[in-house]
């Protein structure tokens, strides 16, 4: 019984570690993906904000 608990505890601990690392990687990856695809690159979801188009190449060129 005790062994079973130890095994379960180890599995849960490893899972927690993997999920935590996964969450951090996902958050960073998601941000990069959003920026690359021009989808809510700023992290703001407001439909009208047009943030996706704010940092496009065209905009940067326009400023230059």
């Amino acid at each position: 019984m005790l062994n079973l608990l130890t095994v379960a505890g180890t599995i849960v601990s490893i899972a927690v570690g993997v999920v935590a690392a996964g969450l951090v990687v996902f958050a960073i990856g998601y941000k990069i993906w959003c920026k690359k695809h021009g989808k809510s690159g700023c992290g703001c979801d407001c439909s009208s904000c047009g943030c996706c188009s704010c940092h496009t190449k065209e905009k940067k060129e326009e400023k230059k």
Binding site: V12, I28, C46, S48, G50
Partner: protein
């Protein structure tokens, strides 16, 4: 695929129509200038799918602001197959001004008479068939809000898109008719597209056209010389505008049938006599704003308990309920406590806190029972869950605040706020138009910064972008709620709602002061003229309100499960591990060493060296807030157990703001320093997303100064707030310094002090 563009005056219902056509949930607001960029969607209810493009509102095809350029360029350059000219039928004649310009372009145009339900309500009638006959273009009566007439509109637009159309003008009979025709023939000869449109714009002296067609412009200049000053003093643009309005009045007035009912003062006009009153307008606005904060953050609904204290010798009717069960006590405290009956916002907050507490307890017990390692338990309980629940517990309360703000926006009141504030703040160099993006800043600084495109004056645009973060956004609201709630719980004489309201107003006041200072120093100039059409008041649409809330909820959830969880994990890791990657106590951790190193910087603001060992917690929270402002509270929650502080339990009814209370008790931070900390976070560099957007919206080279402005303003203001709240007499020193600065600026502007540049340095005389 056929492409149909929606064009029309601001606030005529284009985006509402776009949402109905495409099933989108684009932001709709009852004020002019909500849409600043084009949006595309697909209409699928005909046999073939049709691409629909929603364009920013324009009054004419001579653009003055960046978002107006978007509309003009789209129609002229991207050549839609048909333009649906959306018209606010309650203001037919004014809206037809744009129609007379659109009809000059070689594109099929269908006129959508929107808001016909409102026209009927007013007791007016519009003869659409007669209008169609006079315009020579299809006219369809619709109500985008109620979804009426939509299919017919799209069918007629589809049919129109299949045919070619040559532009026509209402200016043929005017004094400029001949020259316009000559220029059109010359342009036609060169094979130019939309020759008539360009000819009219050349006659107006449109800057863009003059650059594009210098040869043809010579014909207009020659005619101008011939005509001398007799024709409108040589101002052809004014002459053409006058001719268009005269034509509209002469030809289209007859299509509107007004009854006696319509001639009476409308409900909106009656309401405006009070709400936009010269004297009472601003006090009424402040009372409404306070009402919002009371309903969201107050713990004593309508101050019933406070009022009862006046009649019962200070006891009040409210008392803590003792049921004998800890969970039941906590549940009852959600609705009722010794402070009084909870307000709706407080109930939502308490309820979420209660649920979060139960879930957190369940997770902790589960991990312990399963025998998970201590670090795994710590990571889940004190890292991931602490960070998540810290933010999520505030979400329903903040959403409730947004619901109230959305009601004000959709009702049309927010447009009035810009109007009444314009009258008060024009003398400080700020126009009411700039208040629209600022008010949007209460929701999120990102769309607010983008909305500054509607400002024609570049200086005003830069200044507005700089002060938008001072309008506390939804992400900063949890900081205010937590800090004010914690202060109120520790000092019974303080009301959380009053404190939150005070801080919101303080942010607005700082925006006005900052603009006034910039107007006298780096951004000199007059406030741009402010002309805004006040929309009619109407009852907010349930669907529209829910769309607003859904957008906000999605935003919070997405942020919570990405950037906030990730930050919480990183902070937990940094506060539990040392540079050798070994799990250690907080005092040997990476975060401790970094935090302690920079802690002194915050000493003038009250949360630096004076706090001793764990004062750096606040510095770290402020830094993590740069990623997302919600991180400030998440960081508090993660660091409370790390520094050995204890969160008050739900039986104290304080769990939601418990992290701040725990930090007050363990670090010894004073309430004055906490308020200074909040002020610093309100005024400093906004989150990375907002900062990046501001960078995109400001001219090249201005952004570095904007960052410097945010840092300096927040640091100095938070220091002043801490000093004044701690030692009241320092108010005289701060006032003297401010007076000195104002005096210097006044004298410099009058020429009494001259700044001369010598080489790289500057010398004052």
């Amino acid at each position: 695929m056929l492409k149909i563009a929606l064009a029309g005056n601001p606030n005529c219902g284009k985006t509402t129509l776009f949402n109905v056509l495409t099933g989108s949930t684009a932001h709709v607001g009852n004020w002019p200038g909500v849409t600043v960029d084009k949006k595309e969607g697909i209409y699928k209810k005909l046999n073939v799918p049709i691409s629909v493009v929603d364009l920013p509102g324009i009054y004419s095809l001579s653009p003055y602001t960046p978002e107006e350029v978007v509309s003009r360029n789209f129609i002229l350059e991207e050549k839609p197959d048909c333009v649906i000219n959306v018209i606010d039928a309650t203001n037919l004649e004014r809206n037809l001004y744009l129609t007379t310009q659109l009809m000059e372009i070689d594109v099929p145009v269908v006129v959508a008479l929107n808001m016909m339900d409102a026209v009927e309500k007013r007791g007016e009638k519009i003869d659409a068939a007669k209008l169609e006959e006079k315009l020579g273009m299809a006219v369809v009566e619709i109500s985008a809000l109620k979804g009426q007439g939509i299919r017919e509109l799209m069918e007629r637009a589809y049919r129109a898109a299949k045919q070619k159309r040559k532009g026509a003008t209402v200016l043929t009979e005017t004094a400029l008719g001949h020259v316009i025709d000559d220029v059109r023939i010359a342009l036609d000869g060169k094979g130019a597209e939309n020759a008539l449109f360009h000819a009219v714009k050349l006659a107006e002296g449109d800057e863009l056209e003059v650059k594009m067609h210098p040869d043809e412009m010579k014909m207009v200049t020659g005619f101008k010389k011939q005509a001398g000053k007799e024709l409108f003093g040589g101002d052809f643009e004014a002459l053409i505008a006058d001719a268009r309005y005269k034509y509209i009045t002469a030809n289209f007035s007859a299509v509107v049938e007004r009854t006696k009912k319509a001639e009476k003062m409308t409900k909106s006009e009656k309401a405006d006599r009070v709400l936009t009153h010269r004297i009472w307008g601003i006090p009424i606005f402040l009372v409404i704003l306070f009402g919002l904060f009371h309903l969201t953050f107050g713990e004593d609904f309508l101050y019933l308990n406070t009022i009862s204290k006046l009649f019962t010798g200070g006891a009040g009717f409210a008392q803590d309920v003792e049921t004998g069960s800890e969970v039941l006590n906590a549940f009852v405290a959600v609705f009722y406590s010794s402070a009084g009956i909870s307000t709706p916002g407080a109930i939502l907050f308490n309820l979420t806190g209660f649920v979060c507490d139960q879930i957190g307890g369940g997770i902790a017990t589960g991990l312990e029972n399963v025998g998970a390692a201590a670090w795994a338990q710590g990571l889940v309980n004190d890292g991931i869950w602490a960070g998540l629940s810290g933010v999520l517990s505030f979400v329903p309360q903040i959403l409730f605040l947004f619901l109230l703000i959305s009601i004000l926006e959709d009702s049309g009141y927010m447009a009035r706020v810009a109007f009444i504030l314009d009258r008060a703040f024009r003398k400080f160099g700020l126009s009411g138009r700039a208040f629209i993006p600022m008010i949007m800043g209460f929701g999120c600084s990102v769309p607010a910064a983008i909305n500054t495109r509607t400002l024609a004056d570049e200086k005003e645009r830069v200044m507005t972008n700089r002060v938008i973060p001072f309008f506390t956004c939804g992400a900063k609201a949890p900081i205010l709620a937590a800090v004010c709630g914690a202060v109120a719980s520790q000092y019974t004489s303080v009301n959380a709602d009053l404190l939150v309201f005070g801080l919101y107003v303080f942010g607005m006041a700082m925006a006005v002061i900052s603009v006034a200072v910039m107007r006298q120093t780096t951004m000199r100039g007059e406030a741009a003229p402010f002309i805004m059409e006040l929309p009619d008041y109407h009852l907010p649409q349930f669907r529209s309100l829910m769309v607003h809330l859904w957008d906000k909820l999605k935003h919070y959830i997405k942020k919570a499960f990405t950037i906030i969880v990730a930050s919480a994990i990183v902070i937990w890791f940094l506060s539990n591990f040392n540079w050798s990657w070994q799990m250690v106590g907080i005092e040997e951790s990476i975060l401790y060493s970094i935090g302690s190193f920079v802690q002194w910087v915050c000493t003038p603001m009250g949360f630096g060296l004076q706090l001793g060992t764990f004062g750096w917690v606040f510095v770290v929270a402020a830094v993590t807030g740069l990623i997302a402002k919600e991180n400030v509270i998440a960081t508090f929650y993660v660091l409370v157990p790390a520094i050995g502080a204890v969160l008050p339990g739900w039986d104290d009814g304080e769990s939601g703001i418990g992290a701040v209370v725990a930090l007050m008790q363990s670090t010894g931070i004073t309430w004055q320093a906490l308020i200074a900390f909040t002020v610093f976070n309100m005024l400093t560099i906004p989150c990375f997303a907002a900062a990046a957007t501001v960078r995109g919206e400001t001219p090249k080279g201005k952004f570095k100064w904007t960052v410097a402005f945010w840092m300096l303003t927040s640091y100095l203001t938070a220091t002043a707030v801490y000093l004044i709240l701690t030692w009241w007499w320092t108010v005289f020193i701060v006032a003297a310094l401010a007076a000195g600065f104002i005096g210097y600026v006044i004298l410099r502007n009058r020429g009494a002090i001259v700044c001369r540049k010598k080489g790289k340095g500057a010398v004052s005389e």
